[in-house]
């Protein structure tokens, strides 16, 4: 339960409230290996420890990168860390996105807000072996245009790899030339073969509900839909009880779940 010490190698501003920390072990030991979708517990000295997904690899970073939205005490303290500063890290923890199951199939990735961060490593995994997957679509929605993350990477994903990238924002002023609406509306605008599609969904619960409904309506079976759950986490190793979601401990059975395995509980308020 004791964190290892890591150094901030690079700090990247991603949007007005979101930044990335690229980390490496302070003692120079090799980077931990992880699967896309897994997370680490990051500790800011004296303030606290929070679960943050690994958001890389991404071009120009060492590989252990975390993209963080500043929302409260700990994320604020992490934001204040400068290049070279030390932080604590425990991990990686949790389940991962179903890359193997997706091989040979179409892949639809639906992300809302900061939810794109834990999905970015999936995208890079798919790109590594682009020809092993069918159509790939990324549907990404945020509240406003200035909340969008990783925008520079979209063009490469589109142009070089032929990924269908559809961006939507909830609200925008007249300078925005893209789509306005909820992210699920763009599902109709991408092509995939529902019977041979794996869907990976990460975002606010409300958005994931609509996304699951829509994918099911399009004929994607429940056991081909994967999504993440978020709950308070204090330990990440099954001891503190905080992350329970029905019978699941999100820290060890999740955060990535196959929809049919949790749907009984996903439908219930305040579970």
């Amino acid at each position: 339960m004791t964190p290892s010490l890591y150094t901030v190698k690079k700090k990247i501003a991603e949007s007005h409230d979101t930044f990335s920390l690229d980390l490496a072990p302070r003692d120079g030991s090799p980077l931990i290996t992880f699967q896309p979708g897994q997370f680490n517990m990051l500790y800011a000295f004296g303030v606290g420890e929070v679960p943050i997904s690994i958001s890389g690899p991404a071009p120009g970073t060492s590989g252990l990168i975390h993209t963080i939205r500043e929302v409260g005490n700990v994320t604020r303290a992490l934001h204040q860390l400068k290049k070279g500063a030390t932080l604590g890290l425990r991990g990686p923890f949790g389940s991962s996105w179903p890359i193997e199951e997706a091989r040979g199939k179409d892949v639809v990735i639906i992300a809302g807000g900061i939810g794109l961060a834990p999905l970015r490593p999936v995208i890079y995994k798919l790109l590594e072996q682009r020809n092993q997957f069918g159509n790939i679509a990324l549907l990404y929605g945020t509240r406003e245009p200035n909340d969008l993350l990783f925008t520079k990477e979209f063009e490469i994903w589109r142009g070089k790899y032929g990924i269908q990238v559809k961006i939507t924002v909830d609200t925008a002023d007249s300078n925005w030339r893209g789509n306005v609406g909820v992210v699920t509306t763009s599902i109709a605008r991408v092509s995939f073969e529902p019977a041979h599609t794996i869907a990976m969904i990460c975002g606010p619960e409300i958005m994931m509900r609509y996304a699951v409904l829509e994918m099911k309506r399009r004929g994607v079976s429940e056991d081909h839909i994967y999504m993440t759950m978020e709950r308070n986490m204090k330990c990440a190793i099954g001891f503190c009880g905080h992350c329970q979601f029905g019978p699941a401990f999100i820290c060890k059975d999740g955060p990535v779940f196959r929809y049919d395995k949790v749907k009984h509980f996903f439908g219930i308020r305040e579970i």
Binding site: G46, E230, G241, G267
Partner: protein, 386 residues
């Protein structure tokens, strides 16, 4: 099972002394603030001689007995988890040096505990916590150390309390395993003695150091009939047939609202429950800001903070928190750890200020006349949850 022995009151005193001399910190039942609680003891003088407890929903009362029994009561507000999984402990310290810092792990706790008077339901509760802290992918080394060092002297219950239902949960009243020594207290005519069973080599070594003799068949019979009396006396009953499925099917049952109208969300039930393991952490710094510590503390699913997310708490209603508690104990625990999370000790019933009672509520929620249909609301419009 090896042959049973007899020790008398002085023998029990010797047993405590031998364990103290072996370096154990001996903890046992003792009287404090009008309740029988578990604290360090030095001799049988510290035990609640001649006392018994009366328990019912929301009621705990001590009463004088007509005899000098040392274990003539059932379980009180404490459980052994306060020693094995302490209410608070420091996990580590850290010191800051500009923008760098060092973490100093906590040294391991050198104490070895001997627990005297552990009831069967409590041994089961400890085995259940072992699954949480020792049998998953991660082990809690500090729990492991305390657990492996501990010496267990069980006491088979010779009477049951008003809120006990260990027979329903298959966890008592006779301790079957998990002890080093097990005692049955017998008071018969003018005799007062303990029938001793050994459950481990360590137990055997210890019993050799105190005056004892072989038990006679008659004495063993007296002991067995005491335990049979307790079995017949259970204050409560809980039908656990299909309880997991029934609770899962009834997550939106109106009875949850009825309970929520009474529940104070005070967290007493989770604090007294011997299997509840939840904890939180607190990060503290000193006045200079250069020294930080991380503490682990018991937490309860009845607090608002428990389900805090930056968008708001997940379980804001008392209904949802009570539902978490009961479905965790009786249903999801089975999926998580392969057994019920309830050992039928009755503490949550006794210590509930408004006498909410599992054994009354479960039949209302799971009873056939009320069980409603599927709960998955897939076809309804999605709603915001957090």
């Amino acid at each position: 099972m090896t042959e049973k022995k007899i020790i008398d009151r002085e023998g029990l005193n010797q047993l405590i002394k031998v364990l103290l001399d072996m370096g154990f910190q001996v903890a046992g039942p003792t009287l404090r603030d009008e309740a029988i609680v578990y604290e360090n003891i030095q001799s049988i003088k510290d035990l609640p001689e001649g006392w018994t407890d009366e328990q019912d929903g929301g009621i705990y009362r001590l009463k004088k007995r007509s005899d000098k029994a040392l274990f003539g009561y059932v379980v009180g507000p404490h459980s052994w988890k306060k020693f094995l999984h302490p209410p608070e402990r420091r996990l580590w310290k850290a010191t800051l040096n500009e923008s760098d810092f060092e973490i100093i792990p906590e040294e391991s706790d050198p104490r070895k505990f001997a627990f005297l008077g552990v009831r069967s339901c409590e041994l089961h509760a400890i085995a259940i916590q072992d699954k949480v802290f020792l049998e998953g992918n991660h082990k809690d080394p500090s729990y492991q150390l305390r657990r492996e060092n501990a010496f267990f002297i069980a006491v088979h219950c010779g009477q049951a309390g008003g809120t006990c239902f260990c027979v329903s949960m298959n966890t008592g009243p006779r301790a079957e395993s998990g002890f080093d020594l097990a005692l049955t207290e017998v008071i018969h005519d003018n005799d007062h003695y303990f029938v001793v069973e050994t459950g481990s080599d360590r137990g055997m070594d210890v019993i050799k150091k105190i005056p004892n003799r072989k038990a006679e068949a008659r004495e063993v019979e007296h002991a067995d009939s005491k335990i049979a009396e307790a079995t017949a006396q259970m204050g409560r009953v809980l039908d656990t047939t299909n309880i997991k499925e029934l609770l899962y099917q009834n997550l939106e049952h109106p009875q949850w609202d009825d309970i929520a109208n009474r529940c104070l969300s005070c967290a007493n039930c989770t604090m007294v429950c011997p299997t509840c393991f939840c904890s939180t952490v607190e990060d503290v710094t000193d006045i200079t800001g250069d020294h930080a510590e991380r503490w682990q503390k018991w937490d309860s699913c009845f607090t608002m903070d428990f389900s805090h997310l930056h968008g708001g708490e997940v379980r804001t209603s008392t209904k949802s928190r009570y539902r978490q508690w009961m479905t965790h104990k009786l249903a999801s625990w089975q999926d998580q750890f392969g057994s019920s999370g309830c050992v039928g000790c009755g503490r949550c019933i006794t210590w509930c200020p408004v006498a909410i009672d599992f054994t009354e509520e479960v039949p209302k929620i799971c009873g056939s006349e009320n069980s409603n249909t599927a709960v998955t609301k897939e076809n309804e419009a999605p709603h915001e949850n957090s």
